[in-house]
Symmetry: C2
Subunit: 248 residues, 2 copies
DNA sequence: CAGTGGTCTAGACCACGGT
DNA sequence: CCGTGGTCTAGACCACTGG
């Protein structure tokens, strides 16, 4: 049987945290293996010289972490290690390329202030003809053109965006200069073909496959921040996601 | 001040659940609004006629739900309602269509047993030349051809798959007949064009945009179940996902 | 300093699972 | 029936926050 009784409690940290930490280490070290039953709670009380409430607080922590599970009338058991899948994250182009070990750049093709079309107004939940900043950028990875993006963003959100350096990540500018933090977004993916202008800028040929991404991003209050339409070279761009069958 | 003192505890449910439920209702009903401070814990003890442990168990439940938050030395407060985004789920074609209100069908084009190619073996983590079942199916939504799928699945997993009805959801067959539960998967999306065979089957034209989905699915132990390559009509198929910026 | 949540004790009874 | 986790009590002291 494993020894927990020598635990000397550090001050400044709750005893139950320290007990949980101790058991966590035993599991990670392999002294407690998946399927093993933990000693009964009253025995743990004696081992760790604390009351049952404290033991239960420690075990609760481990249950929430998924490290152990309890069965009423049976005992507490070490859980099977799970095949863990992280949920996909909303990434900027810059972050996406960084993840692949590539350097992302942006070349601003145009920047203008114009009234929102019906379509853009609907996506951004503003009134038609409200002013939006429209930015067209060519996106490159290791100096190779990968796609072009058109960003629509309400002018009211970032009045002086024109004066910022837009050859970097727009998300970084929004966060650093305007304190706008993106919480989530809706992505829509579909396939299309490059038109002649896109083909020229992307150094491809008209009619070549295009991967289209439309994205609307939101703050944590659900307020739309930007609408982006990206037209990516079909032969240079793909998206890979881990998805769980049962969410949340 | 709101009244909690009339609570009559039902038997068979823990008091702290009932107290949590009561407070939850007060919040949902608007009697307690975001930012409001809850009465101190000792006052709640008197109101609900229970000990502090019980009150704290109830509040813990609400904290975990994100309905309230605590500040040591200050009090417990009703949290701001969050703009909640559910993580995307791995869906079968059938489920995906059902979500859009469409009826999905499958028409089996071919079904054969053959040794795994190097590529397929790598994706399924099996040895090259191990036998895999290869199924080609035309996928329809409301009787319209949307795409075609080629599924590779190790024969060892489902020896008699040939005898099953494959005009329905493959995931349903795997779950019901073989007890194989899909836990997660890797999806890769990119753009391409239809070749002549695909164009004929999909009643489109060669060279038209195609949305390609490659998927490998896994059990909760991380064992690969199937590898699927889907070639979807670019003009009839798109994918929409909600993504969070900071995940899990 | 007073008020609040955070931690902890010692003990009790209940509900469930298996023998 | 026994052993286990689930719930609950009454009371104590600590740690943080604000005035």
């Amino acid at each position: 049987m494993w020894a927990g009784q020598q635990l000397v409690y550090r001050k400044g940290t709750a005893a139950y945290h320290q007990i949980a930490e101790y058991i966590r280490l035993q599991i990670r070290a392999g002294a407690l293996r998946p399927g093993d039953r933990l000693p009964p709670e009253d025995e743990l009380c004696k081992l760790f010289q604390v009351s049952r409430t404290t033991i239960r607080a420690a075990l609760n922590e481990l249950v929430l972490e998924g490290l152990i599970y309890r069965k009423q009338g049976r005992g507490s058991y070490v859980a099977e290690p799970k095949f863990e899948v992280a949920y996909p994250k909303l990434l900027s182009f810059t972050e996406e390329m960084a993840q692949k070990g590539l350097r992302a750049d942006a070349k601003v093709l145009s920047l203008e202030l114009s009234p929102a079309s019906q379509e853009v107004a609907e996506k951004l939940n503003i009134n038609p003809n409200d002013l939006v900043i429209v930015i067209k950028r060519l996106r490159l990875a290791n100096d190779e053109p990968i796609g072009m993006q058109t960003v629509f963003i309400p002018q009211s959100l970032c009045p002086d965006l024109q004066n910022e350096d837009l050859s970097q990540s727009l998300y970084a500018v929004l966060a650093n200069k305007y304190g706008i933090k993106i919480y989530a977004g809706i992505d829509t993916y579909y396939a299309g073909v490059l038109n002649s202008e896109e083909a020229r800028l992307l150094r491809s040929t008209p009619g070549a496959p295009a991967f289209i991404v439309e994205r609307i991003t939101f703050t944590s209050e659900g307020k739309p921040i930007e609408y982006v339409r990206s037209c990516m070279r079909g032969d240079r761009y793909k998206i890979t996601l881990w998805l769980k069958r049962e969410g949340e």
